[in-house]
Symmetry: C2
Subunit: 229 residues, 2 copies
DNA sequence: GTATATTTGTTCGTATGTATT
DNA sequence: AAATACATACGAACAAATATA
């Protein structure tokens, strides 16, 4: 692990273990430089990462301070994979898992930016948190990039699997969302009355090298799924 | 304007004016260093900002590439003030503006982290985009931080006003959201049937110095409001 | 397939600027 | 007015990943 990442992790642990609250002050840059035996550049990079992640904020001439810890009943909308609020990891369980090797619809092919005769894995999963139905996920993996998937892999974590086995690492994603009425199939799966509404999220995932490997649509249970950013 | 900001702006303009698409390559670091007469650190800082904003991605050993331009019908969920997708600025108009100096409810006081006898401005605005109703905003400003507001200011831009007049600059915000049924008042304002659903967003705004000055609830029209991140 | 060049990523050190205390 | 603390910018060296010959 890199030096600035290690510093960022230790500072984060410091905040958690000392139970620091919004507005509490962190040690000054110079103290952190001494404390970690690092250069200013390196400590600043660690602080910048923590700031991007929403844990701290820096005020010129004043100091570095802790931000609010997000309410634990809400889920970080930025990490749709991993499902953690970074403070208390919430266990997300997959059920009703189906995996099918098939050909993409025109919409899916356009989102995966592949030809319509490119084989894709269609994966559907019902995600539950503490036995509460959280969302229905329908995702499509380009089989030319992700050579193999099955129910066992999908029941655990697809992203971890393809990272471990194929060294395919998630880089970034395009993410669109809106509120819409559920289809009968969706309301059935989510155990909601017909004509219920939910949050529908379309997300296209790219590898760190910029290649598309996954397009997903998640439909969230409007009562059980609440988010923060 | 700072050097790295200027470089970031010019690179962004370069992408737009040359109509670059997803995957297109930007000049290498060394070329940018020569081109802008800046150090590696400074150019990197500009690139990091553009990467954070979702415009580019960097691949070690390979190069720097352009990301997808977001669909123009979707709005950047991260900038609830300003209302721009950074490529085509969409005009957002305020109507049905009311401003009232009052005392906070317990919920509002807790969100503003102020006493219940602290005066606050309650501002309500209906936001329209091309005459389509976009959302109903109800916001509360701590009057000890923002000394004065009226309908004229609220009809234009409150954030611009308090930045210009009081040097109060927005630093960051805590943002929570979920899908819920609208109240009768809300569905009436949004011109939707009763019992419609919408996206409800609670956002607490902090100044760059870390002081809370605004708590807002936005309720979005589920047909007219679509987002990206 | 391998060596080499290219390109981004990390880390160090230093100087100067700017805002707050 | 002075001290403190973060912000910007420069330069240099080395590391790591990728592209190319």
């Amino acid at each position: 692990m890199l030096k600035y990442q290690k510093i960022a992790e230790q500072l984060f642990s410091f905040i958690k273990s000392n139970n620091l609250k919004q507005g509490d002050c962190l040690p000054s840059l110079n103290k952190l430089i001494q404390q970690y035996g690092a250069s200013k550049t390196t400590v600043l990079k660690a602080l910048d990462q923590l700031e991007r992640d929403g844990f701290i904020y820096q005020v010129q001439g004043s100091g570095t301070f802790v931000r609010n810890i997000p309410d634990e009943h809400f889920i970080n909308f930025n990490v749709s994979h991993g499902w953690t609020n970074d403070f208390t990891k919430t266990k997300m369980e997959n059920s009703d898992v189906t995996v099918e090797k098939t050909l993409p619809t025109p919409l899916v092919a356009s989102r995966l930016q592949c030809a319509i005769d490119t084989p894709v894995y269609k994966v559907q999963r019902l995600k539950k948190q503490d036995d509460k139905i959280f969302c229905l996920e329908t995702s499509y993996y380009n089989a030319n990039v992700v050579p193999f998937l099955n129910e066992d892999i999908a029941k655990a974590s697809i992203f971890h699997h393809i990272s471990d086995v194929y060294q395919i690492n998630v880089g970034f994603s395009d993410k669109y969302f809106k509120v819409r009425r559920l289809t009968n199939f969706e309301s059935d799966k989510l155990n909601l009355p017909q004509d219920s509404f939910g949050l529908a999220v379309h997300e296209t995932f790219y590898t760190t090298a910029g290649d598309i490997f996954d397009f997903s649509e998640n439909v969230y249970h409007h009562e059980n799924a609440t988010f923060y950013i």
